[in-house]
Amino acid sequence: MNHDSSTVNHSRQQAEGSLVKKALLTRNQEIAKGIYEMELVEPDLAAAARPGQFVMLSISKGLEPFLRRPFGIAGIEPQKGSIRLIYQLAGRGTKQMAAWEAGRPVELLGPLGNGFAWENGPGRAVLAGGGMGIAPLLPLAKALRSLNKEVTVFLGARSLDLVFGIKELGQAGCQVQLATEDGSAGAAGFVTLPLEAYLQKNAGSSAGNSSSAQLQGLYACGPTPFLKAVSGLCDRYSITAQLSLEERMGCGLGACMGCTVQIKDSAGKIKQQRVCYEGPVFKAEEVVFHG
């Protein structure tokens, strides 16, 4: 992703050297209920990674599990030569990962896919993360803050014990608005409610806005129904948005056509695009939601 581009730019950040990397696991700990954070040191990876990109982790050298596992990059620290992943226990792959100890070499492919795009210079951005969708927004929030943008992050989770990243976002100078479905913290209910309230107030012309800077766009990641709702809001309030999508993946490389989504261009023509290759980040108005 090119930081200088002013629109979503799907040109690939070509990785230096091979995409197959061996990284050193330096930290692996539970940060919320059933949610772990892993730090991996691999300087080339850390230098090349952009917010919104992902990696395919190899869980075992053998056949079990057979496929690699995709995880969004949740932290990028080129100075330390490290990236971070935040993952939730889902099945046997993540269960094995949770047992890994620091010092272990981890094989992965990455960075993969195209990250988020943004305009250079100041401005205002809204980020909305549902559940694990918060993870890939963390490095994005920091990148936007480093350009001195005002960043408001809406975090939605089922309950407080599944929330992570708030402190990190606060330290980076983001406004954080939390909603939990069970009301255990922040607003009760879906995070799309406070998000809608915010958009209502802040969208459109910057006149009458609660903030001075212009709202440049919205970035969202989370479960499909959440993205669909966010997409609807953006449509209603005429806000351009970028969505990070998920699909079950075979290769993560663009070869198997396993992760195809329907993307419609401005003329309304539908194309098949690969989440792993043309995505995972797409313009909200281009994404065709089914069902």
Binding site: L63, F66, R248, C256
Partner: protein, 305 residues
């Protein structure tokens, strides 16, 4: 250094390890890892006459030592292949095999007619065994008479070696092999995927949107080996063996079972360097065991050897 060259009914290859159709796109994605000229040949993603969108997602599920896919032949259509992908692949020095599909005999006729005008194509592989499309697909591959008809129709227009790709979802694969051999197949490739299914305990529903899908990967290797071994005893055509090959050791087993060449499918998804590793591993093993050529180990596990 042992000689890895093979010649399958006129299809001459520098090495016998191909990329299996559908797991390698049109080769572009692997250029990041190694040159397109490295695999013995690239079996391109399955083509249809018209561009095809494929099935809804999820299209991929993991299974013990394997995977299911229900891609449904998403492809840009044969004309785009001829205009763009084939010339590009040839410019990269690749050997290219078109994998063709149809819902009707007319489809097969039309697609082979169009391909007959393409320059540079090294072979045509006819997929009569795709479990992931509703009409046609596997249907043609499960009946000897239909399989023979497809072969005949394609053969008419085919100016390059003709490969027929067999389905494992049959009672007797040797009957299909004999039927297509009789109609002029030059080479057989096997196996395509086994029809399988995965169920999600949480949703209580099939994992794949299309419910069933094709099983591939190491899990199916014993079935693939058995079928190669059976077909090698039945018809006198060179066989491209595939199904679960992820290492040089796996590949060697297929040669011993009677394959003249092999193809790697799912292995490309889990390890982008799978093919070069297998080529190197075979070469090393042949040297170590004192064989001069890959052809020397072909069929050693067949009865009578």
């Amino acid at each position: 250094m042992a000689d890895l060259k093979v010649n399958l009914a006129g299809l001459a290859l520098d090495n016998p390890v191909m990329a299996a159709s559908g797991t390698y796109g049109f080769g572009r994605e692997f250029l990041k890892f190694y040159p397109s000229s490295l695999p013995g040949a690239i079996m391109a993603k399955g083509l249809t006459v018209e561009p095809t969108a494929g099935n809804p997602t999820p299209r991929i599920a993991e299974t013990p030592a394997g995977m299911l896919n229900s891609i449904g032949l998403q492809n840009p259509g044969v004309d785009a292949f001829i205009a763009e992908e084939l010339p590009w692949l040839k410019s990269q020095g690749a050997r290219v095999i078109a994998n063709i599909n149809g819902h009707s005999l007319k489809d097969f006729e039309e697609i082979s007619r169009r391909l007959s005008a393409a320059t540079g194509l090294d072979a045509i592989e006819v997929n009569i065994s795709c479990p992931n499309v509703d009409n046609g697909g596997m249907f043609f591959g499960t009946d000897p008479a239909l399989a023979a008809q497809v072969t005949k129709v394609v053969k008419k227009h085919c100016r390059v070696p003709l490969i027929i790709k067999l389905s494992p979802n049959v009672t007797d694969i040797t009957a299909i092999a004999k039927a297509v051999a009789a109609e002029g197949a030059d080479i057989l490739s096997l196996i395509n995927t086994l029809l399988g299914m995965a169920i999600d305990r949480k949703t209580r529903r099939p994992v794949l949107a299309r419910q069933v899908g094709g099983l591939s990967g190491p899990a199916v290797k014993p079935v693939a080996l058995r079928m190669v071994w059976q077909v090698a005893q039945t018809v006198d055509l060179p066989i491209i063996g595939m199904g679960g090959i992820v290492s040089a050791e796996d590949a060697i087993e297929f040669f011993l079972a009677g394959a003249a060449a092999v193809a790697v499918g799912s292995g490309n998804l889990t390890n982008p360097y799978c093919i070069p590793e297998i080529v190197a591993g075979i070469s090393q093993w042949l040297d170590q065991e004192g064989y001069v050529s890959i052809n020397d180990i072909r069929g050693l596990a067949l009865p009578g050897h």
